[in-house]
Each structure stands twice: as structure tokens, then as C-alpha cells.
């Protein structure tokens, strides 16, 4: 192990697909550092360039320009020796269907120079994966589990996971996140892509957000959460006429405020707004009233991007509309 180096380092990394007129710039001068030992979330909507980046880390694709280092080595010259230290789960994990799960995993383990059978069995058990089934017969989620096992089984220094939880049910997502946490406790590095904010928030130390091949931000999860927009719905005991809507509207971070009679005619009111940043002001303003119920909707990615664009000086807002202050 060459300890001091970053787990992943990209400088001015660009990738274009195709040539001539059909040229597509999938990744545009990306600068990124993933430190050793951290769980790093790589977030972006469909087509943002996540898989493109990841496939360059595995030397499946070659950069058009810029440099990339994985565990201190260039993916191409690092070759098999470098890939031995990495675990990879592809965005669309495909595996030869005419074999059992056990056979498939043993073959991959053999390529990696051997993995104790106990390790494979242990992982399979945790993920509730039957090693005797034929791959062909597996449901999508179960096939994804095979992908998770093969990425983790050899305890690699660096895990590169492209949308690892796609197809997994909530229980298994939790189990997967537990695997990621354990990997971090062992001092391993995890680089995982996703378009689900909450999943990344649950495990990642830092998050990069990309869109249309460009890096929007790299930030800690906490600070990203602070910037995120949430939808708030509060059920108050008081009727609409008793609620001081103006006071709420003046509260920092509160936008799109709406107060109306509660739907069930029990005399209360319903307050809806979006909250940008800290919740403190809103909670204190609410304290004056009787709060019957409070719902906080986690921000979806589009909204995170929207706020990011605003914080970055309001560049183009993509397809996001209706968020005027």
C-alpha cells in the first residue's frame, strides 16, 4: 500500500464518445479527489456521466484528455495488478447465466487469486442469496446481490460501486449500507454512485454532484443537507385566520408559503412551504402554535441541483421550474 496517495484522483478528466458529428462530451474537465478511507458519494441524474467516470477508473474506457489515478496508479499502466486491489460493481451488472451463483463466484474468486469459501458463504448469507441457484433463474435484485458479493468478497482496498443498490429491496439496502460502513471501519475506501440522495447521505462522508458531465460541487453530506430544499407540511390546531402567515414568510429559509383550512374541517389549518437550509427559524416560529402533525419530505435530487445552481450564481436551471422566491 502506498498510504499517502489519494484513492482516486482526477485532473481535467474529459471523455468524448463517438467521432465527427456524433461526438458526445460525456465528461468535461472533471477534477476530483477521493481520500483514502472515506466513503465518497458520486451523485447525479441519469446521463450525468457517473458510469463514464467509473469505467475510466477501471480502464474499461480511456480518457479523451486529462489524467486519472487510482490508488496512485494510472488505470492503464496499473493493469491487472491495480485491479486486484479494487472491487467493482457495474451499473448494469451482467454475468454468464448458464452457471450457478456459487460457480460464478468461485470463478471470479479464482481470477482474484483465491477467496476463502467462508467469506463468500458469509456474504451470501447476509444478503440472503442462494449459492445453488442458477444465475439464469435469479430475479433482478438477486442478480444484483451476486454483483455486491463479488465486489466485496476479496476485501479490496478500494470499492467502486455504480448504483449498487438498484434493484435491492429496503431491507437489503440497509444490509448493503452496513457492508459499506464495515468496509470503512476496516480502512477501505468506497466510491459509490447513485441518484438517490438519501442513500448516499446515510453512509457517505463526502459527496460530489455532477450534471451533464460537469462537477457542480464537492461537499460534506452535512453541508449539502443544509443547503437542500425540503418540503414541509404542518398540521396546526389553530384555524387559518389565527395563523400569522406573514411571520412565517419572514422566517429565513422559508419559501412558497401557503396556509389554508385543514382538509377534514376539524377547525385546524394546514401550512405548507419549502425550507431551504436550517430548520431552526421555522421550528421556533411553529412553537407558538399547536402542532398536530409535521411532515418533512426529503429533497429529491432535482431540488438539490436547483439550490446548488442558485448558490453558484444561478447558472441555467435545467428543467426545474416553479421555485421562485
Amino acid at each position: 500500500m502506498s498510504g499517502g496517495e489519494a484513492a482516486v484522483l482526477a485532473e481535467g478528466l474529459s471523455k468524448e464518445y463517438g467521432g465527427g458529428r456524433k461526438r458526445v462530451r460525456a465528461l468535461d474537465t472533471l477534477d476530483l479527489t477521493v481520500r483514502r478511507g472515506e466513503v465518497f458519494g458520486y451523485l447525479g441524474p441519469n446521463g450525468a456521466g457517473k458510469s463514464t467516470t467509473i469505467r475510466m477508473l477501471l480502464d474499461l474506457l480511456r480518457p479523451t484528455s486529462g489524467t486519472v489515478r487510482v490508488l496512485g496508479e494510472e488505470p492503464r499502466s496499473g493493469g491487472p495488478g491495480l485491479r486486484r486491489r479494487v472491487g467493482y460493481l457495474a451499473g448494469d451488472f451482467v454475468i454468464e447465466p448458464r452457471q450457478t451463483v456459487g460457480e460464478a463466484l468461485r470463478f471470479l474468486a479464482e481470477l482474484r487469486g483465491g477467496v476463502p469459501p467462508m467469506r463468500i458463504e458469509g456474504l451470501a448469507e447476509r444478503l440472503d442469496l442462494d449459492l445453488k441457484r442458477k444465475v439464469r433463474q435469479l430475479s433482478k435484485g438477486n442478480r444484483q446481490k451476486v454483483g455486491v458479493v463479488q465486489a466485496f468478497m476479496h476485501r479490496p482496498e478500494l470499492l467502486i460501486l455504480d448504483e449498487p443498490t438498484s434493484g435491492l429491496d429496503p431491507l437489503l439496502q440497509q444490509e448493503f449500507l452496513a457492508l459499506v460502513r464495515e468496509a470503512r471501519e476496516d480502512g477501505r475506501t468506497v466510491f459509490m454512485s447513485s441518484h438517490i440522495m438519501s442513500e448516499v447521505q446515510a453512509v457517505a462522508d463526502r459527496v460530489a454532484v455532477i450534471r451533464e458531465g460537469r462537477l457542480l460541487t464537492v461537499d460534506t453530506v452535512d453541508s449539502l443537507r443544509e443547503h437542500a430544499v425540503r418540503h414541509v407540511a404542518v398540521r396546526l390546531d389553530e384555524g387559518p385566520e389565527e395563523v400569522d402567515a406573514e411571520a412565517f414568510a419572514r422566517t429565513p429559509g422559508v419559501r412558497d408559503l401557503e396556509v389554508r383550512p385543514a382538509a377534514d374541517a376539524a377547525g385546524g389549518s394546514e401550512l405548507r412551504c419549502t425550507l431551504d437550509g436550517r430548520a431552526d427559524g421555522l421550528v421556533k416560529a411553529l412553537a407558538r402554535y399547536g402542532v398536530a402533525a409535521l411532515e418533512l419530505e426529503e429533497p429529491d435530487l432535482e431540488e438539490v441541483f436547483f439550490t446548488l445552481y442558485n448558490h453558484n450564481g444561478g447558472r441555467e436551471t435545467g428543467g426545474v421550474t416553479g421555485h421562485g422566491a
Binding site: 491487472p80 485491479r83 486486484r84 451482467v94 479464482e110
Partner: protein
């Protein structure tokens, strides 16, 4: 690690391999054992046909033992079987698996691209050689009983060697496209064109006035142009088949190492 990719390549294709083997054995055995039944009769029928047509069909000498074997077992059937096996295998080896997404997983393991191509090529060569052994064994066992004893064992071995090399050459050229481009359809298509052109250039095309020399560019001519059953190994034929193969495989490997892997 190295051995496991090779072994797996052969194991994965074992069901199809049984079918191919069956085909090779059946063609060898049926043709050889029918010598008494149809050899002489067909020889007579063909005797009436124009010399050039007989030659195009490889049947100018149907009545003699070597002529019979040359136009049946070592005629179009086995040449096509060997070529078809090579073509299909070489296409699947890289482009087929790449398009189905399987290569992504394999190449993310500690496996080098060069080793992957070369081992898959080696597996194909091994299978073609195995086919060749079966052909030789069938002919050596049957030639006495069916009255083809006049054909020398060395002739059979030479013809089979060149047959195997024909398959290897077809596979090598197909692998160039398969590994070089990763496009399955293109690889199959070019492989078929090579086989069909090779066959025509050694049979019908030379009948056209002025382009008789075209046969010198045909792998089929390199394979049987010297009538190996009678004259033994053709050094130039074998060198051409092997040389084209080596150039194609090396080039295919280099291109594969340089390009992006598609999904």
C-alpha cells in the same frame, strides 16, 4: 489465473462443442464409409461434365481413392464446418461477450486484455486441433475396410493439418474484427465474406478468363491447392495460413488493448 480463463472458455462452450464434434465425426465417417457405394458411381456421372466444372467442384478425380477423399471429406463440408466453428467462436470470444455486457465484469478483474484474447484464441486452436485428431483417427480406422487403403497416412495427416490451419486462419481474421471493433455483426459478416470469397476464389472465380490467378489469394487454395492427400504438406500453403493468422491476431490484440470497451 491464466489457466482458469482458458479452461472456462472451453467449459462454457461445451454443449455447443458436443454438437460441432458430432458434425465433424459424422461427416468424416459417412463420407469415408460411402466410398464403395457412391464413389465409383459418382465418378462416372461426373466424367461427362466439362473438365473445368469438375475442377471447380473439386471432383475431377472422383473415382480414385485420394480423389474421392479430396472431394468429399476434405472437400467443402469439413472446410465449411471448421471455418464456421472458427468464425462463430472468434466472434463470440470478444465482440459477442462484449455486446452482451459480459466482458465488463471479466476485464474489471485482474485479467489483461491481451491474455484474454490470446487465451481465447488458443482455446479455439486447441478445439480445431482436436477436430483434426478426430478426422485423422476416423480416416485411419476406416480407410482399410472401405477400400481407401491406397491413401497414405501421411497424406491424410497433411490434408488434416492444412484443414485445421484453414479453420485457424478464418478464426484469426474474424478475431481481428471481433477484438478490433467489438462489433458482433461486423465480425460475423466479415468472417462470412472471407469464407465465401475464399471458397469462390478457389472454385468458380478462376473459371472467369483473366482472373485465374485470384485463387492465390484464397485461404482455400492455400489449404488444398497442392492436393495434400497426394503430395503431402505444402510449406507455402501452411506458411500463408499461419502468417495471415499471426498478423491478424496480433493486430486484433493491439487494437483491443487500445480501444474503449463498449457496453
Amino acid at each position: 489465473m491464466a489457466r482458469s480463463v482458458l479452461g472456462k472458455t472451453i467449459r462454457d462452450g461445451r454443449k455447443a462443442l458436443v454438437a460441432w464434434t458430432y458434425g465433424v465425426v459424422v461427416v468424416s465417417v459417412l463420407y469415408t464409409s460411402s466410398y464403395k457405394l457412391i464413389g465409383k458411381a459418382k465418378g462416372n456421372v461426373m466424367a461427362g461434365a466439362p473438365q473445368s466444372l469438375q475442377k471447380a467442384l473439386g471432383m475431377q478425380d472422383y473415382g480414385s481413392p485420394a480423389g474421392y477423399l479430396g472431394s468429399t471429406v476434405f472437400g467443402i463440408m469439413l472446410a465449411m464446418l471448421f471455418s464456421a466453428y472458427a468464425l462463430v467462436t472468434a466472434t463470440r470470444a470478444v465482440a459477442g461477450e462484449e455486446e452482451s455486457g459480459l466482458l465488463d465484469l471479466l476485464l474489471a478483474q485482474p485479467v489483461s486484455r491481451r491474455k484474454l484474447v490470446l487465451q481465447r484464441f488458443a482455446a479455439m486452436v486447441a478445439v480445431l486441433a482436436g477436430f483434426g485428431v478426430l478426422v485423422v483417427a476416423a480416416l485411419l480406422a476406416l480407410r482399410g475396410p472401405v477400400g481407401l487403403g491406397a491413401v497414405a497416412a501421411s497424406g491424410i495427416a497433411a490434408a488434416t493439418l492444412q484443414l485445421v490451419l484453414l479453420g485457424v486462419c478464418t478464426g484469426g481474421v474474424t478475431l481481428l474484427v471481433s477484438a478490433g471493433t467489438g462489433k458482433r455483426g461486423l465480425s460475423l459478416g466479415i468472417g462470412v465474406v472471407v469464407v465465401v470469397f475464399g471458397y469462390l476464389a478457389n472454385s468458380f472465380l478462376p473459371l472467369i478468363k483473366g482472373i485465374g490467378g485470384i485463387k492465390h489469394f484464397s485461404p482455400f487454395y492455400w489449404f488444398d491447392g497442392n492436393t495434400p492427400l497426394v503430395h503431402g504438406i505444402s510449406a507455402s500453403g501452411c506458411l500463408l495460413l499461419a502468417g495471415v493468422t499471426v498478423v491478424a491476431v496480433v493486430l486484433g490484440t493491439v487494437l483491443f488493448e487500445r480501444r474503449d470497451l463498449n457496453v
